[in-house]
């Protein structure tokens, strides 16, 4: 049944990995996210930017199932995930990182990453291999036996990414993974994120480090006061007057020039 829909009905349309249709969520009288509609295609690397309180993290929580939408619908591949629970969304192949890292504190870095790998691989040997690869990809292999509680903020961010990647997701939601990293680490992380679509991972990425997201993302979605105010390529966005007014500021145009 489900396969028929994929093969038969939507053949003529662009393939869609994630589709948000008029998604909104209010807390009391405040609409943290309202009327958000956009799609992400397979292999895309989409960035979400916007001022603090624009609703970016709430949007991630809505997609990941941590918060249930008050309005609208969310579809991942051929399944509606509007009311799915976080662990159900994760099992479909959506991995996420948390803006404020949520590691398994009493476990080591290796065990943290291994847990994700164990979700998919029943044999410990295979899980070990995935764990080792993922730790090396993110650059935390030297810390494999450090307890997560002893890591600094920057390393916790890397651990978040490693834990999400080890679930071998098809869609990865990155929430401000650059905060707390050194300039060198930011460049390394940029290269790592840029390589993800090539590995078959679609990325939706919230970031405040403009240098990173402007250079890596193929498409940007700009949020302000809960809604989308602009969408387009980084070049289009950086010259969009609405975006400059709401978020980037007039100085950005000058500052971003070499």
């Amino acid at each position: 049944m489900v396969q028929n829909q994929v093969c038969g009905v939507r053949r003529d349309e662009e393939p869609v990995m994630l589709r948000l249709e008029g998604v909104g969520r209010h807390f009391g009288a405040l609409w943290a996210v309202r009327e958000v509609t956009f799609t992400v295609g397979p292999g895309e690397l989409v960035g979400i930017i916007g001022p603090n309180g624009a609703g970016k993290s709430t949007l991630f929580n809505l997609i990941a199932g941590a918060v249930t939408p008050s309005a609208g619908e969310i579809q991942f591949l051929d399944q509606k995930i509007t009311k799915a629970k976080p662990y159900q969304v994760a099992r479909l192949g959506v991995a996420r990182t948390f803006q404020i890292p949520k590691p398994f504190r009493q476990l080591t870095v290796r065990e943290n990453v291994m847990l994700s790998a164990l979700r998919r691989h029943r044999t410990p040997r295979r899980a070990h291999a995935v764990t080792a690869q993922t730790m090396e990809f993110v650059g935390i292999q030297n810390l494999a036996d450090t307890t997560a509680a002893n890591l600094s903020v920057g390393l916790l961010k890397k651990l978040e990414v490693a834990r999400a990647l080890a679930t071998e997701p098809s869609l990865l939601l990155l929430d401000e993974v650059m905060a707390g990293l050194t300039p060198t680490e930011i460049r390394e992380m940029m290269a790592a994120i840029a390589s993800l679509p090539g590995r078959g991972i679609t990325v939706l990425w919230v970031e405040h480090v403009m240098m990173a997201i402007m250079n890596v993302a193929e498409r940007l979605v700009v949020m302000h006061q809960g809604g989308i105010i602009a969408q387009g390529s980084p070049t289009e966005i950086s010259s969009d007057p609405a975006v400059i007014g709401a978020y980037l500021g007039k100085n950005y145009v000058h500052a971003s020039r070499p």
Partner: protein, 352 residues
């Protein structure tokens, strides 16, 4: 056989052996302690000493059961006496009323306690930390009051008495020996089970649920299911200990069996020995039970109640200076010694 201390434990390593207690592997320290327990069972025949040993092993098993919920899954419970009572009362009532052997009754008690435990976590699914603890305390008290007032079933405050007529089918024995072997087996099986849990993927799912439920959900673990599973398992195993207790002491009354004191003891032994480790609850019981018996015996004439003061002082000292318990202290001590000997060896290599 011993693996290097820097290598992290990982699920699926069943045959590794470490020196100091470490998650997921059997350690030489633990094996020695358990071997001493077994030797003591064979060697010691003094009636009073055997009585203390029976209590110690029973409490070690009960603390290990508590540890599955409180240590591994972070479901700190101050209401486990309820499960203990359910186990003790179920098998005893089945024996006295329906003449069903406790060998069968204990499984009935375990099943009932397991269901109550699972329902408790489902009802309290949204409660965290101190709020969850308070709700478990309430469950314990409600169970105690129910047992006190449901006179027709439990005999109320007068309690229930099992006739001291030796019969293997009724699990009542003439000598202490069979009881001693039973509780020893109970402790050893639970220890093995704990080590096994630490190695399996489900053990790791429990740790993840304990450390961060949102993080666990994000990688596809259903935290509510894990909480319910862990609590059900812990409650069922505690109930089996309750049956063993009833069949040794042959007398039950709600005030003593389902008291908060009993629940606190479970938690204390785990904290003292090392929360969330397989050896911790055993170490805790091995120290607390004989100590409290000895203190009670020696101080009851001159200063009754003083044993509680000494007991409390020891707990405070351990919590201040050994926050990861005895088990953690041994692990750290041996890691320190290991690094000392290694640096000494490398220094020796440089300057022969």
């Amino acid at each position: 056989m011993a693996t290097s201390l820097t290598e992290g434990p990982a699920p699926g390593k069943f045959l590794t052996l470490a020196f100091a207690p470490r998650r997921g592997v059997l350690s030489i320290v633990e094996l020695v302690v358990l071997a001493v327990c077994v030797i003591a069972v064979v060697a010691i025949t003094n009636r009073y000493a055997v009585d203390i040993m029976i209590r110690t092993f029973l409490w070690a098993g009960l603390a290990l059961s508590w540890n599955i919920a409180g240590g591994y899954t972070g479901l700190i419970s101050f209401g486990h006496a309820a499960f203990f009572g359910i186990g003790a009362y179920t098998s005893t009532i089945l024996l006295l009323r329906y003449n069903i052997s406790p060998w069968i009754g204990m499984w009935a008690g375990a099943l009932l306690a397991g269901c109550v435990g699972a329902v408790l976590t489902i009802i309290c699914a949204r409660l965290r930390g101190p709020f969850f603890i308070l709700s478990t305390l309430a469950v314990g008290e409600v169970t105690r009051l129910a047992a006190l007032n449901w006179r027709s079933l439990t005999g109320g405050s007068e309690g229930l008495e099992i006739a001291p007529v030796p019969s293997a089918i009724d699990m009542v024995f003439k000598s202490q020996w069979p009881n001693l072997l039973l509780v020893l087996a109970y402790m050893l099986v639970l220890f093995a089970l704990s080590i096994w849990i630490e190695q399996t993927r489900y053990g790791y799912y429990l740790f993840a649920t304990r450390d961060d439920e949102d993080g666990a959900s994000a990688i596809g673990i259903n935290p509510r299911r894990m909480r319910a599973l862990a609590m059900a398992m812990s409650a069922a195993l505690t109930a089996i200990g309750g049956t063993l207790f009833a069949q040794y002491f042959l007398y039950l009354d709600p005030t003593h069996i389902i008291s908060p004191d009993i629940s606190f003891q479970f938690a204390l032994m785990c904290v003292l020995g090392g929360l969330g480790t397989a050896s911790g609850p055993v170490f805790g019981a091995l120290i607390i039970v004989p100590l409290s018996e000895l203190l009670r015996g020696s101080l009851s004439g001159s200063a009754s109640g003083l044993h509680l003061v000494i007991y409390g002082t020891i707990v405070i000292i351990v919590m201040l200076y050994f926050p990861s318990g005895i088990s953690g202290a041994i692990a750290r001590g041996s890691a320190w010694l290991w690094s000392r000997t290694r640096s000494a060896a490398s220094a020796g290599m440089k300057n022969p």
